[in-house]
Symmetry: C2
Subunit: 370 residues, 2 copies
């Protein structure tokens, strides 16, 4: 049985979020804070933003009409999957509320650290990220609403990274990042590029000090901590962050979606047939036998098929699936077919929007430092 009573209080079982909060020193998301989120995005409504740092500062800003911005990076190292879509959806939602959006493309890191050729980085940035962001409703054209930039091209970021680096000693870096002497100097310096990405919206050239919200994975939280360490030394506000739960890979709860392993995730460029095949093989929360399933009900809290509904699709479909599954009324084959239909409908729609988005590309390149 799932821990929650309704799908809104649903808890995925495979990750111990309380432990993560403790380990990383995060603040748990609270009903009080969630109540203050205006016309909340489904991520907030469905208990999928589980932790934060100083999210209250962002809500304060929003309530008092103070300007704040939101920032999230693109790592152009593979295919765009439903995990990436989640963040793009959140970006579009904030942008729709008039919040300026910063999107650094981590191409220095992709090229230098991960060894991806520059042309490949470029191709992935455009065909996977930019087109899908545009198709998902993020405005990357308007300079007033978005600053999308390549780390190779943003002078402000790179120059600030050196200033930031001069404030932190080698032993502090050892303590924070646990570097060893065999780590290369690129890897050791990179955190300052990430910190400069996060802090640079507060530079005078970007209109000065302001709250910045960074939706970030716990694996990248260390850069947020470095940025928060650095902020007061430059008279800046410590950046805020929110942490969303992660969608599981298709192999089962807690497995990882990977943009370089097609069997682990559905990509937004997958054909409907490919998506259907992938979902057919996906791990579910079904019981050993149909008999048992009908008796005890399915287990959505262990089901990666259910996660697609939970993270991405309409309340009605989510709720009816949850109820029919847990009551034993729905078997996995039927459910997979229905979710496949929903995903296919989405993929056809997004494919069409990506084609339309191609017409916007010249304007994106004209307006953004890529």
């Amino acid at each position: 049985m799932s821990k929650g009573i309704t799908p809104w209080e649903f808890e995925l079982e495979h990750v111990d979020y309380a432990r993560i909060i403790q380990e990383f020193g995060l603040q748990p998301m609270t009903p009080e804070l969630l109540k203050r989120v205006r016309t909340p995005h489904r991520l907030f409504k469905r208990n999928l933003v589980f932790a934060h740092r100083d999210f209250g500062r962002i809500l304060d800003a929003q309530e008092s009409g103070e300007q704040f911005v939101i920032l999230t990076g693109m790592m152009p190292s593979g295919k765009f999957h439903f995990g990436h879509k989640l963040i793009a959806d959140l970006m579009a939602w904030y942008q729709g509320q008039g919040v300026m959006l910063y999107i650094p493309v981590s191409d220095i890191e992709a090229h230098v650290i991960r060894g991806i050729e520059l042309e490949a980085c470029r191709e992935i940035t455009v065909n996977e990220y930019i087109l899908n962001y545009l198709a998902l409703g993020v405005d990357l054209v308007s300079k007033e609403k978005c600053c999308l930039y390549s780390q190779w091209r943003n002078d402000l970021v790179r120059n600030f990274s050196f200033k930031a680096a001069s404030k932190i000693t080698l032993s502090q870096m050892h303590a924070m990042y646990g570097f060893s002497n065999s780590d290369n100097m690129g890897k050791i310096f990179f955190p300052f590029i990430d910190a400069a990405d996060i802090l640079h919206p507060q530079l005078p050239e970007r209109g000065g000090v302001k709250p910045v919200l960074v939706p970030v994975g716990v694996d990248q939280d260390i850069h947020l901590r470095l940025s928060r360490d650095l902020a007061p030394r430059f008279g800046m506000i410590k950046p805020s962050s929110i942490y969303t739960k992660m969608m599981s890979g298709l192999q089962g709860p807690g497995s990882k979606m990977s943009s370089s392993k097609p069997e682990t995730a559905i990509f937004l460029t997958d054909s409907t047939e490919a998506a259907r095949e992938k979902l057919k093989d996906a791990f579910t929360g079904g019981r050993e036998t149909i008999q048992e399933q009908k008796q005890k009900g399915g287990q959505p809290e262990k089901c990666v098929v259910y996660e697609f509904l939970l993270f991405h699709f309409e309340d009605e479909l989510l709720e009816s699936t949850y109820n029919r599954c847990t009551s034993g009324d729905l078997v996995c084959g039927e459910c997979k077919a229905a979710v496949s239909d929903r995903i296919s409908k989405f993929l056809i729609e997004i494919q069409r929007k990506r084609e339309e988005a191609k017409l916007l590309l010249p304007k994106v390149f004209e307006n953004q430092p890529l």
Copy 2:
């Protein structure tokens, strides 16, 4: 008595160049190499280039008509003095032989490490360095003859610095530079900017692999060594270097000229009166009494006034001064007056040329990434 017989074999006494060569692992300059220098600059003729690394590679290139380039940095942290002039003269001489010149302006370092405000860096770069370089005959306007660039602005250099950094481990940096854990991360990363300056003329975007000659002080030799370590890992030729003797400060042989201490050096922007006053107070190789001077002769090898002639002025004046001084025919007061006259003539001329050079500034800014 001086060690040499003629001023051409003259050895300054205050620096043990043999020890420096040994300590830094340099190759001593040899008569065989010097013989191969075409229409040699006075620095070569007067035994003032005392050491090198792979200078033969540059001579090979020149003899076979292979393209090579010369590179030297500007550190915009103070006034331009006669020590800087020396390098500018060498640049102009090489450029006159058709050698492409690269001049990185170390403004990231000046700003981040030395704490000089960006506007001050800019002002010093233009009024001290660029105007004097132009006045001394260096062509900074033509893109074909010179690439003068700000480290803040050169994408190629900054991006290559990250690739270079990813080839070197932290423990290798410790071994080479002797960093301590309390050094800041800016200082620790900076060597890769310097190395990228030195290596980037060999990038495909700059016409590909070629010999590069770097006139460098032994205090900066470490960056040359890092660059030579890195070069083969990128399929590049190890850069060559030459090491010139250093002019002494006015306080005496071996004292340091400083661009921030007016009493130590004559600046190219000094008035003739100021220069005359400075030279009046300068340390000479004169004897205790005029009597003794007439008997034993003066000691040009210990004389900072003589250094001005040795490093900068015509053979005739150098030779006659040397002969009259060592024979006891010339006393210091008379000599100082004559050298002051020569310097004044030069300063008036350079002042006029700097005024003319101001007209070239818009073209410099138009053509160079500053």
